[in-house]
Homo-oligomer: 260 residues x 2
C-alpha cells in the first residue's frame, strides 16, 4: 500500500515540515520504497516531480526540502507497488489537462477487477490501477458536464458518486486537485487537521523535528493537511469516515452548500 | 524570442554538457530570462521541470547539472516572453497525453492572428500562442487518425502539413517528442549535429567547458543534438532549411522511407 499527503491553504505555504516527515516513510520509518512524487500548483501551472527511487534516497526530495516551494494546493505520494512495475510512468501523482486546467491525482489502495471502458479521451500511460481510475474519473466528468466545467457543488456531487462507484472495486483513498480545491476520498485510512491562529508548536512523529508555526505564519493563514496516517504527535488529527469525501478550500473542509 | 534544445539518442545519455551551455543563455550570455524548462523521457514516463526564474538563477537548473538524468529524448527551452505573461503555466515544454503516450512540445517564434477552433479535447492552460499551437496540433492529429496512433511515416506526413499550416502565421521553430522519435520543424533558426564514433573533444561556446566524449561513450553510442544556435565552437553544425521538418530516431535524422 502507498501513502498520501495533501495540503490546501488560503495563502501559498511551503510543505517542507510535513513533507520531511512524510518522505521519511519512503524507505526509513516505513517501507514505501517504490517511488514517490509531488505536485505543486502555482497559479494555473503545476510543478510535478516524480521518481522511482525511494524518497529517502532521492536528490530531488532533498532539493524540495531545501528550496521551499510555496503553493496553495499540493499532493504527494510514496509508493509501495501493488499493480504496475516500479517505473517512472507508474509514479503518482498523475497529471492531465481537462477544461483548460491541470488536474492532479494520487491514489492509495488496490482495485480488483476494475476494467472500465475508456473512450480514448484520457488513456493511461503506465500500468497502474490508479492511473486507470484517474482516466475513468476524468472521462466520466467530461461525459456528464461536457465542455464547460461545472460549479463546485455539482462537481462535488459527481465526484462523490464516481468515488463510491470505483471504491466498490477495492480500497480507493485518493486526492484530486485542480488548483482551486482539493478533493479527498477515504476508503479506510485518511486523516486531516487544520492549522490556524493560534498556531501550535508541532512535533513530527517520523523525524526529530519541531516547528513553531507561530513564527512562520500570519494570524490570517490557514492550512489543511490531509494524510494517510497522522504526521505529528502533539496535534489532534481527525479521521475520515469510510466512504467519506471532503472538499478543502482555502485551508478548511467545506460543504457544497457553503460555496453554492 | 526563445531558444530550443533537443537531444535524441540510441542509448540513454545525459545532456549535462549541452544543457550547461544552453542554460547560460538564460540570463548570462543571452537575455532569455523569462523562464525555462526541460522534459526527459524515461521509458514511457516523463520528468518535467519548469521554472519562471532565469535558468542561470534557478536551483533546479543547478540540480539538473549536478545529477545527470539519462534519457533517449530530451526537449528544453529558455524563454523570452512575447505572448503570455511570465508565469509557470506559460513555461515550455508543455506535456499532454495522447494515444496513451506523453507528448512533449516546445516552440520558438511568434504566431500572428492564429486563432484555430478548438473542440475542447486539448485546451491551453496558459496564455501563449505556443501552447495553443500544441493543442491545435494534437487535436488535428487526433481528428485525422482517430483512436489509434498511426505508423511513423503517416504521422510524419501529417506533422509536416500541420507545421506548414501553423507556420503560415509566423515563426514556428518547434520540437515535439513522444519518447520514440523527436520531430523538429524549422521556420528560420535551427541547427543539428550527430555525435558518434570517433567522438570529438567538444568546446562550449557559452561557457569555458571542454568534454572529451570518447571518455564517456562506447563506440556504439549515437547522439543527435538539435538547437537554435550552435553550442560548440569546434564541431560542424548543420543548419535546417526554412520550412524543413526532420525526424530523429536513435540519434540520427531519418527519412520516412527508411522506417516504413
Amino acid at each position: 500500500m502507498c501513502q498520501l499527503l495533501g495540503m490546501n491553504c488560503n495563502v501559498p505555504t511551503d510543505i517542507v515540515f510535513s513533507f520531511t516527515g512524510f518522505a521519511t516513510r519512503g524507505g526509513r520509518t516505513d517501507n514505501h520504497n517504490d517511488g514517490w512524487g509531488i505536485a505543486f500548483f502555482e497559479g494555473a501551472g503545476v510543478r510535478h516531480f516524480v521518481d522511482y527511487q525511494a524518497a529517502t534516497a532521492s536528490p530531488l526530495a532533498e532539493l524540495i526540502k531545501q528550496c521551499p516551494i510555496k503553493s496553495k494546493n499540493v499532493i504527494s505520494h510514496i509508493r509501495k507497488a501493488t499493480q504496475g512495475r516500479v517505473a517512472l510512468e507508474n509514479c503518482h501523482p498523475f497529471v492531465r489537462e481537462m477544461w483548460g486546467r491541470y488536474w492532479v491525482f494520487a491514489h492509495n489502495g488496490d482495485l480488483k477487477e476494475f476494467r472500465p471502458e475508456l473512450d480514448g479521451r484520457f488513456r493511461p500511460v503506465g500500468t497502474t490501477d490508479s492511473e486507470l481510475a484517474f482516466c475513468y474519473l476524468l472521462q466520466q466528468l467530461r461525459k456528464r458536464f461536457g465542455d464547460a466545467m461545472p460549479a463546485l457543488p455539482a462537481l462535488t456531487v459527481a465526484l462523490r458518486e464516481l468515488c463510491a462507484e470505483i471504491a466498490s472495486h477495492g480500497v480507493f483513498n485518493i486526492m484530486l486537485s485542480d488548483g482551486s480545491a482539493l478533493f479527498a476520498h477515504c476508503s479506510n485510512h485518511l486523516h486531516y487537521l487544520v492549522r490556524q491562529y493560534p498556531f501550535p508548536v508541532a512535533e513530527l512523529s517520523d523525524e526529530d523535528v519541531i516547528v513553531d508555526f507561530s513564527l512562520v505564519t500570519t494570524p490570517k493563514d490557514r492550512v489543511a493537511i490531509i494524510v494517510t496516517a497522522p504526521l505529528t504527535t502533539n496535534e489532534t488529527w481527525i479521521a475520515f469516515e469510510p466512504g467519506e469525501m471532503k472538499v478543502f478550500i482555502d485551508g478548511q473542509p467545506v460543504e457544497p452548500a457553503e460555496y453554492a
